[in-house]
Structure formats: structure tokens, C-alpha cells
């Protein structure tokens, strides 16, 4: 195994990094799609080396929040800091797991091809993929228990296996902050166990994971800290404090229709007459 591969394995087994600054800070972030606000004035700081869950109803802006952190959607206002600096200066420190449905799994690629993509940021433009990077990707596939499927076409993997491949690709990024969009969606029990184990190991080795999550039954068990989101921050902080019936009711109990209507009307230029 090469240096990088060994490094990935070692870092997953609890070689702590010292947290100094806030891994992810969103300051007054507002995102607007097609004249409709999706995120409204988000002020949020993730705690360092924690497993953080993002919870909220459909359309609450969970995926958009992750995309905003990655600089993938334009901000109508506000800014994002990754370890105290703008996203574009910190790309190498961010790992990303998009929603599984966001890609075409019929794409002509093997599991290893996909995981190697996690190394592209390090390899850089126009450069060939070296043996060392391939080995590092293999090590990541091994971490998620998928080494034997390295050469399998990705369309022939089960949903849970595809999700593991995505996780392995994020591991291959060797990041300090991981942003994951529903990594537990539609996976089998064994995959769910594998994923949560890996997330815990990442956390224990000083990394921060921000995870969009749907299953309220497992929230308390999985996450140290929570961000309850419904277009704006409903509540955030340690899970034990935040996960109350009152907060959940405020998160899931009805959308902010008034705010939405008002901003749509504003965007359309129509200020109602008295």
C-alpha cells in the first residue's frame, strides 16, 4: 500500500487533528431559486469535530444549504466560510456526498472509476491518474467494504452499494469537513451500519460531518449536534437540547407561506395597494 493509502487508513483509525476554527460558518445566507427564496437569512456555525445532522421537511432547503456551502449555487446575500476562509480557497478540505439520485448510474464507469474521481482535486487539470491515486481509491473502497466490487459497472450495484461507493469517493478526498446529502436514504441495514461507523470514525479523528438526514428515529442516536431547518434555522445545537417536540413541531408544522408569498410578490414587482 502506498503512502496515501496508508495515510487514509491511519487517519480513519483515530489520528486526531486539532480543531481551531469553525469548520463551516454560514453568515446571513439567503438563496433564491426562480424568484422564490429557498434559504432565508441563515446564520449557522458547525461545532468542530462533531457529527451534525441537518433535519427538516421536504423543500426545507437542506440540499441547497449544502450546495451553498460548496459554492454550487449563487447566494442572493451573505457569505460562507470554511475553516475561516472562503470556500474557493478551501476546496481540498471539503468532501462531498451528493444525493444518490442526482447522477445517472447507467454511466459507463466502474466503482473504482467513481472513487478515483475523489482524487481529481489533488491530481489537478490535465494530469494522468497515477498508480498512487488509484491505490488510495482502492483503500477507500476497502474501507466501505466494497473492494471486491471495484471493477463492477456501477449500474449493477445495489442502492446501498452505490451509496457506499459515493462515501468511498468522499473518503478519497481526504477532507476535514464532509458534507453529505442523505447518505442513508434507501440503503439496507448493513450499509447503514457501515456508514454510521465510518462517520463516527471520521468524527473521532477530528473531522466534521454535516449530514442531511430523514429518519427521525435514528437522529438522537446518530448525531451530536443538530440543525433544524425549514427555509430558516429553526433551532441548532447539541442534539439533546434541540430535539424537542416543540422544535420539531416548529420545523415540520407548516411552511412559512407568508414569507414566501411576500417575497414572490416583491420579486414580481407588485406591491399591493392599501
Amino acid at each position: 500500500m502506498t503512502h496515501t493509502a496508508a495515510h487514509i487508513a491511519a487517519s480513519l483509525n483515530g489520528e486526531r487533528k486539532s480543531p481551531s476554527v469553525v469548520p463551516l460558518a454560514l453568515r446571513d445566507v439567503t438563496v433564491v431559486y426562480q424568484r422564490k427564496p429557498v434559504l432565508w437569512d441563515i446564520d449557522y456555525e458547525t461545532p468542530p469535530d462533531a457529527l451534525v445532522g441537518i433535519v427538516g421537511p421536504n423543500g426545507a432547503g437542506k440540499s441547497t444549504l449544502i450546495k451553498a456551502a460548496l459554492g454550487l449555487v449563487p447566494l442572493a446575500s451573505g457569505h460562507v466560510e470554511i475553516f475561516g476562509r472562503p470556500t474557493r480557497e478551501q476546496r481540498r478540505r471539503i468532501g462531498y456526498v451528493p444525493q444518490r439520485e442526482s447522477v445517472d448510474w447507467e454511466f459507463p464507469a466502474s466503482a473504482l472509476d467513481v472513487v478515483v474521481m475523489g482524487r481529481y482535486g489533488r491530481i489537478g487539470w490535465f494530469r494522468r491518474i497515477s498508480r498512487a491515486h488509484r491505490d488510495a481509491a482502492m483503500a477507500c473502497l476497502d474501507q466501505v467494504g466494497m473492494a471486491e466490487f471495484a471493477n463492477r459497472q456501477i449500474g449493477q450495484l445495489s442502492g446501498g452499494q452505490q451509496q457506499r461507493v459515493f462515501l468511498a469517493r468522499a473518503l478519497a478526498q481526504e477532507a476535514d469537513l464532509y458534507l453529505m446529502d442523505e447518505p442513508f436514504a434507501g440503503v439496507d441495514a448493513a450499509t447503514e451500519r457501515t456508514i454510521i461507523e465510518i462517520l463516527r470514525r471520521l468524527r473521532d479523528s477530528g473531522r466534521t460531518c454535516l449530514v442531511v438526514h430523514h429518519d427521525l428515529n435514528t437522529v438522537r442516536d446518530y448525531f451530536d449536534s443538530l440543525l433544524l431547518l425549514n427555509m430558516r434555522v429553526v433551532a441548532s445545537g447539541p442534539t439533546a437540547h434541540v430535539l424537542t417536540d416543540e422544535n420539531l413541531r416548529r420545523t415540520y408544522g407548516g411552511r412559512l407561506t407568508l414569507l414566501e408569498k411576500a417575497t414572490t410578490a416583491m420579486a414580481a414587482g407588485g406591491v399591493p395597494r392599501e
Binding site: L70, L72, R88, Y96, P108, A109, D113, M117, Y120, W125
Partner: protein, 449 residues
């Protein structure tokens, strides 16, 4: 007809004047380059956008031509036509984006509008140019359907240079383009500019479109980008291999198509090339070993055979249970009654099972061999485990159990059977390794065909 075929043959075998040979070769190379670029276009799902871009190249070229005439420059110089077409192409893409932002225009409608409006402008300009008293306009009217026979050697050389550039860029950016096509968000998250990457891809499309306008025509050049790539997908699951196969298909299709149209002067080159590529597409779809229709059909037949065998073995085993004697010969009639199979299907299944050593004929009936009984016991057991599972976990009614289990039991591998056993362990009827009783009455007639 024979004369035409022999003409085509002469051209294909390069038994032609130097100029024709050069042009045909260059069109072949263009086809190969388009095939490779098309793979990424297809996977990025930009086929229609590329079509709009190709149509927009026509007014671009016309405007470039007019500008050159006005300025007194060489009006056929690619140095003028290429940038003009590129600007028109960029304008068409920008228009699509702008229209899509409107609340009531969807992307497909936007593409349709832009494509047709730009093309109409091109056709109008083209007729205006035809009326001008300038000498260099000859051949511009071929830019709609393409006409390889009237190309000059320098047109051919331009194609060769552009195609080489396209291939070099693809090789250099292979991994970046793969990333863009598979997961553009992830690419963006790692800092690869999606705008730059899409720009590279669309620049290559523009480049090949412009140099190929005379040979293939604005109307159909998108086919040379898309059809070889789509055909190549049937042959492989590997992106690099797919690109190489698309190059072959595009190269052959373009070369043979151009040769046919050169042999028969009335046939425009574009349609001839598209027909050749289309034929190669259908051949690929039919016979490709992995994903082709024929291969799929064979797989289905084999699966049906496997399922038929499993049904037969289970029916014979359960027949033995009903009469209380596993060694009693089973008659064709018994089986026919049991599964409502036609008699000839039962005979066919029995004959195959006998060949495979699962059953042997005893008098007028059949009995399971030791090997067959072992296989049958496994199948019956899996079937019953599944029935218990469905009854307790999915609330399937007893009289529907058999058919419900029938529908899915053939997909059970050893791992799934083990999982089933584990999840049913608390039940009295299930003991490891033992044959559970059927959860429902074993009637004379059950199951589907």
C-alpha cells in the same frame, strides 16, 4: 444499381482522383472525431443543445461570409467563418438559457424555438447571398444538407486539423470531462469550473460543426455526433472503450456515406452519412454482445428455462408429498393439472430435465433422480420459507401465498435464503435444514404458468 455500387466500391477502396480521396478521408476523420466528442455530449445530455448550436452555425457562417465580402477579405477563410459561427453558436446557447429563465418556457421548448429561428435566419441569409454578384459564394448552398463532392482540398485539410485538435483536447481533458458528465455538482465542489468544462465541450462541437458544414450540412451534423456514441454504448461499459468504438462507427459511417454521395451526385452527403451511421446503430443495437437486443433475448430465454426447471422440480416434489411416496412415477397429466401447463410444455421441460439428469423415465411416468430430488428439496424449502415470510411479514392471504412466492422465488440466492431463515427462526415450523410443511393446503392445482 450495380453501377452505383461499383462506383461506391471504387471510392471506398480509394480508387479515385487525389482530391476526392483526400476529401473522403477527411470526412472519415471528421466522423471519428465527432464520434468521440459525441460520447461526452451524449453522456452530458446535451444532444439537443448541440443540435441548436449546429443549426446556429449556418447564420453565423453567412454573416461571416458577408462581413468578409464587405471588408474585401477571403470570404471562404476559416479564420473568419469559424469565429462567426462560434459567436452565433454561443448566442444560441445564451438564448436558450435566457428563454429557460422565463417562467413559462421549458428547456425543450426553448431549444426548439432557438434552433428553428436561428436556422430560418441562416436560410434567409443564404438566399440573399445567392443573389449577390460575388464569385466565392459557390457551395454555400450546400451548407444545409452537405455536399462532400464539391469540397476543395483545403476544406479537407481544415477538417483534418480541426479533428486532430478535437482528439487532442479530448485526450488531455478525458478525466475532467468524465467527471463533468457523470457528476457535475461533485466536479464543481472540487473546484473544477463547470462553465469552463462545458465550454470546452461545446467549443469542440462548434469547431467540428463549422468545418463539417460543407461536408455534412447544418441540418444533420448532430447525427454524426450522437448516433455513433449511442451505438457505442451497446458494446461496452467502459468510457474510454466507448469513445474508441464511437470513433470507429463514426469514421466508417462518415466515410462510406460520403463515398456513396460522391458516387451518386444527386444524393446530398449529410443524409447518406446519417443513413450509414443509422445502419451501424441498428446493427449495434441488435447484435452487441453485452447490451444488445439479441443478447438480452438469449438471456431471457435462459432465464425462462431456469424458471421452468425450478417449477417442474417443485411440482414433482410436491406431487410426491401429496401421494405420500416420493418415488412414485409422476405422469404428464398430473403435472399438467398441477400447474395448468400445456402438455407439450410439460413434455419439453421433462425431456430437458431428463437430459440434465434431474429426472428419469420410469414406465409411462417420471421420477426425480437423487440429484434432482436434492435440487427440488432446496427449491421447495426456499419457496416455503418465502411463503412463511410473506404470510407473517407482508400479510399475504393464504390462498395467494403460492403465487406471490412464485413471482419472486427465482431471484433468491443463498445469501437471501440464509437471511430468510434467520428472520423466521422464532417460528415453530422452521428448523434449520429441515423441510417445513407448506403453510397452505397442497391442492391439485395451483400456481401460474
Amino acid at each position: 444499381m450495380t453501377a452505383l455500387l461499383s462506383d461506391v466500391w471504387h471510392l471506398v477502396t480509394l480508387d479515385a482522383p487525389y482530391n476526392t480521396r483526400l476529401v473522403l478521408r477527411s470526412v472519415g476523420v471528421l466522423g471519428a472525431a465527432c464520434g468521440a466528442v459525441g460520447v461526452f455530449l451524449l453522456l452530458r445530455r446535451r444532444s439537443l443543445v448541440a443540435d441548436a448550436l449546429a443549426h446556429a452555425a449556418l447564420p453565423g457562417v453567412c454573416v461571416g461570409f458577408l462581413l468578409a465580402v464587405v471588408l474585401g477579405l477571403d470570404a471562404r477563410s476559416l479564420a473568419i467563418l469559424l469565429p462567426a459561427a462560434a459567436i452565433a453558436g454561443a448566442l444560441s446557447i445564451a438564448s436558450i438559457h435566457a428563454l429557460t429563465r422565463l417562467p413559462r418556457v421549458r428547456e425543450d421548448a426553448a431549444i426548439g424555438i432557438v434552433l428553428s429561428v436561428f436556422f430560418a435566419v441562416g436560410v434567409v441569409l443564404l438566399s440573399a447571398i445567392q443573389a449577390l454578384p460575388v464569385s466565392q459564394k459557390a457551395g454555400l448552398n450546400h451548407f444545409i444538407f452537405g455536399h462532400a463532392a464539391t469540397m476543395s482540398a483545403s476544406d479537407g485539410r481544415a477538417i483534418l486539423i480541426a479533428s486532430s485538435i478535437a482528439i487532442i483536447v479530448l485526450v488531455a481533458c478525458f478525466k475532467e470531462l468524465r467527471l463533468l458528465c457523470f457528476d457535475s455538482s461533485f466536479a464543481g465542489g472540487m473546484g473544477f469550473s463547470r462553465i469552463a468544462l462545458d465550454g470546452i465541450l461545446m467549443s469542440l462541437v462548434t469547431l467540428l460543426t463549422v468545418v463539417g458544414l460543407h461536408a455534412v450540412g447544418a441540418l444533420l451534423i448532430v447525427a454524426l455526433l450522437i448516433i455513433p456514441a449511442a451505438a457505442a454504448r451497446f458494446w461496452t461499459d467502459h468510457l474510454g472503450v466507448m469513445a474508441v468504438i464511437a470513433m470507429f462507427i463514426g469514421g466508417i459511417g462518415a466515410y462510406v456515406g460520403a463515398a456513396s454521395s460522391a458516387a451518386e451526385a444527386n444524393v446530398p452527403t449529410g443524409p447518406a452519412i446519417v443513413l450509414c451511421c443509422g445502419a451501424l446503430f441498428f446493427i449495434s443495437m441488435a447484435i452487441a454482445p453485452k447490451r444488445g437486443l439479441l443478447a438480452e433475448h438469449v438471456r431471457r430465454i435462459m432465464t425462462n428455462g431456469r424458471i421452468g426447471r425450478q417449477h417442474l422440480l417443485r411440482a414433482m416434489y410436491e406431487r410426491g408429498e401429496i401421494v405420500g411416496n416420493a418415488l412414485a412415477p409422476v405422469l404428464v397429466d398430473d403435472l399438467q393439472e398441477r400447474r395448468s401447463w400445456p402438455a407439450n410444455r410439460v413434455r419439453r421441460l421433462l425431456a430437458r430435465a431428463a437430459r440434465q439428469g434431474d429426472v428419469e423415465q420410469v414406465g409411462s411416468g417420471y421420477v426425480l433422480t437423487a440429484h434432482g430430488r436434492e435440487a427440488a428439496a432446496k427449491l421447495v424449502r426456499a419457496h416455503r420459507l418465502l411463503e412463511y415470510y410473506l404470510a407473517t411479514r407482508a400479510d399475504v392471504a393464504p390462498h395467494e401465498l403460492d403465487r406471490a412466492a412464485d413471482d419472486i422465488e427465482h431471484a433468491l440466492g443463498p445469501q437471501l435464503i440464509e437471511d430468510l431463515e434467520r428472520s423466521l427462526q422464532s417460528q415453530q415450523a422452521i428448523r434449520t435444514g429441515a423441510m417445513p410443511d407448506s403453510p397452505h393446503e397442497l391442492s391439485q392445482r395451483e400456481g401460474g404458468t
